[in-house]
């Protein structure tokens, strides 16, 4: 048994205190033969501090493509030769997407826009869309609209948006290699405003952006410092035409080690399987992740790519005897 796992068992499982950056790095460096024990410990931590429920969410792109930012992983940047074209979703289609999501048993529906930050047209579309969803669909509405002003934060609270997603994407030291049109600190500023507003903070990122293991540990520690309500974990799905289009995908075992390490860094957070898991982990790895620290999933399709059918994930949860978190439990 490794020393770091002994310490994690005492510190995280027993006392609920997350690992620090140096300890996270030790976990990320564990050999493959320690992986089963690591995943079991992360699962035990999740069960003790979060419980068996799994939060299910659907996402949809309200405004796709044509983004002025240069996030090197993103096919929606207007600065790269990506085949993704700009398109807006109309309100009836948005409501229909929310209905489809609710029909899976999901309690969360996140509306996403590919923008630096919302303009007046987007905020108007959001206000109309959230109102229409709330009138017809029993589901919590979250949003991800880029960097916000204080006035926009207040508007989203007024609309009834209960959670705001704004990913830091990667650690502070690696961010300038991934995005040059805005800074990590600007993103942190929006997150602070969201936190202060009373909205729940959803903040995670993408693994496999060329970061080192040290930077992966740095990222987990920075997220733990932020202490978000939810951390979505994406794994790079290299997109044609983007600067990271030829980046190798994260190895499955490294992805599972990272999931467990993030869980041990943040024992109480909602740790969500997000984009790229189908490619990095496949069906078997999805199961391993749910038994290794994950306690939330995005079901169905993503913003510009497709996911597993929602029924596949729901059947897996049933098989694992993990109940889907009920709407009443999230309000």
């Amino acid at each position: 048994m490794s020393e770091i796992l002994d310490r994690a068992r005492s510190q995280v499982l027993n006392d609920g205190v997350g690992l620090d950056e140096a300890q996270i790095l030790e976990v990320l460096r564990l050999p493959d033969d320690a992986l089963p024990e690591l995943l079991q410990l992360a699962h035990d931590v999740r069960m003790k501090w979060c419980g068996p429920e799994v939060e299910v969410e659907g996402i949809v792109s309200l405004k796709t493509g044509g983004c002025p930012e240069d996030c090197h992983f993103c096919s929606q940047s207007g600065l790269f030769a990506s085949p993704v074209r700009s398109v807006w979703l109309d309100i009836p289609s948005l409501v229909e997407a929310a209905k489809q999501t609710a029909a899976t048993g999901a309690t969360e529906f996140c509306i996403v826009a590919a923008v630096r930050g919302p303009d007046q047209r987007l905020m108007t579309q959001m206000r109309e869309g959230v109102k229409a969803i709330k009138a017809e669909v029993d589901i919590q509405v979250a949003a991800s609209l880029g960097m916000l002003t204080q006035e926009q934060v207040d508007d989203l609270v007024d609309m009834g948006v209960h959670r705001y997603n704004h990913n830091l994407e990667t650690c502070q030291s690696h961010f300038p290699h991934v995005v040059t049109t805005h800074t990590w600190e600007e993103r942190w500023g929006t997150l602070k405003m969201v936190r202060d507003s009373g909205m729940e903070v959803c903040c995670g990122g993408i693994l496999g952006l060329g970061e080192t293991l040290e930077q992966r540990a740095e990222f987990a520690a920075q997220l733990a410092e932020l202490d978000p309500h939810e951390v979505p974990m994406n794994f790079l799905n290299p997109r044609p035409g983007t600067p990271l289009g030829d980046q190798p995908v994260v190895e499955g075992k490294d992805a599972l080690r990272a999931i467990a390490a993030f869980r041990l860094a943040m024992p109480r957070t909602i740790l969500r399987f997000a984009g790229g898991r189908e490619i990095t982990l496949g069906d078997l790895g999805t199961r391993d992740g749910l038994l290794g620290g994950i306690n939330a999933v995005i079901v169905g399709n993503y913003l510009t790519t497709l996911g597993r059918p929602a029924t596949s994930d729901l059947e897996l949860l049933q098989d694992l005897k993990m109940p889907v978190k009920a709407l009443s439990a999230t309000i």
């Binding site: 799905n237 079901v299 399709n301 993503y302 913003l303 790519t305 497709l306 996911g307």
Partner: protein, 58 residues
């Protein structure tokens, strides 16, 4: 006809990787004219529209 993922001639080159990728991606190019399509992904499907050749859905 054109590959609906990469936009190149479907009959030229190897599109095995494109076909594999399309399992988890909607089409991006119109297979009839290779125009980039307007694609909207929703939780349970997608719609892809070519200005000349109409809309495909799944």
């Amino acid at each position: 006809m054109f590959c609906d993922r990469c936009g190149n001639q479907a009959a030229e080159g190897d599109h095995t990787a494109c076909a594999a990728a399309r399992e988890l991606e909607p089409p991006r190019f119109c297979p009839e004219c290779r125009r980039r399509m307007k694609v909207q992904v929703v939780p349970t499907g997608w719609t892809a529209s070519c200005v000349e050749h109409g809309t495909r859905t799944a």
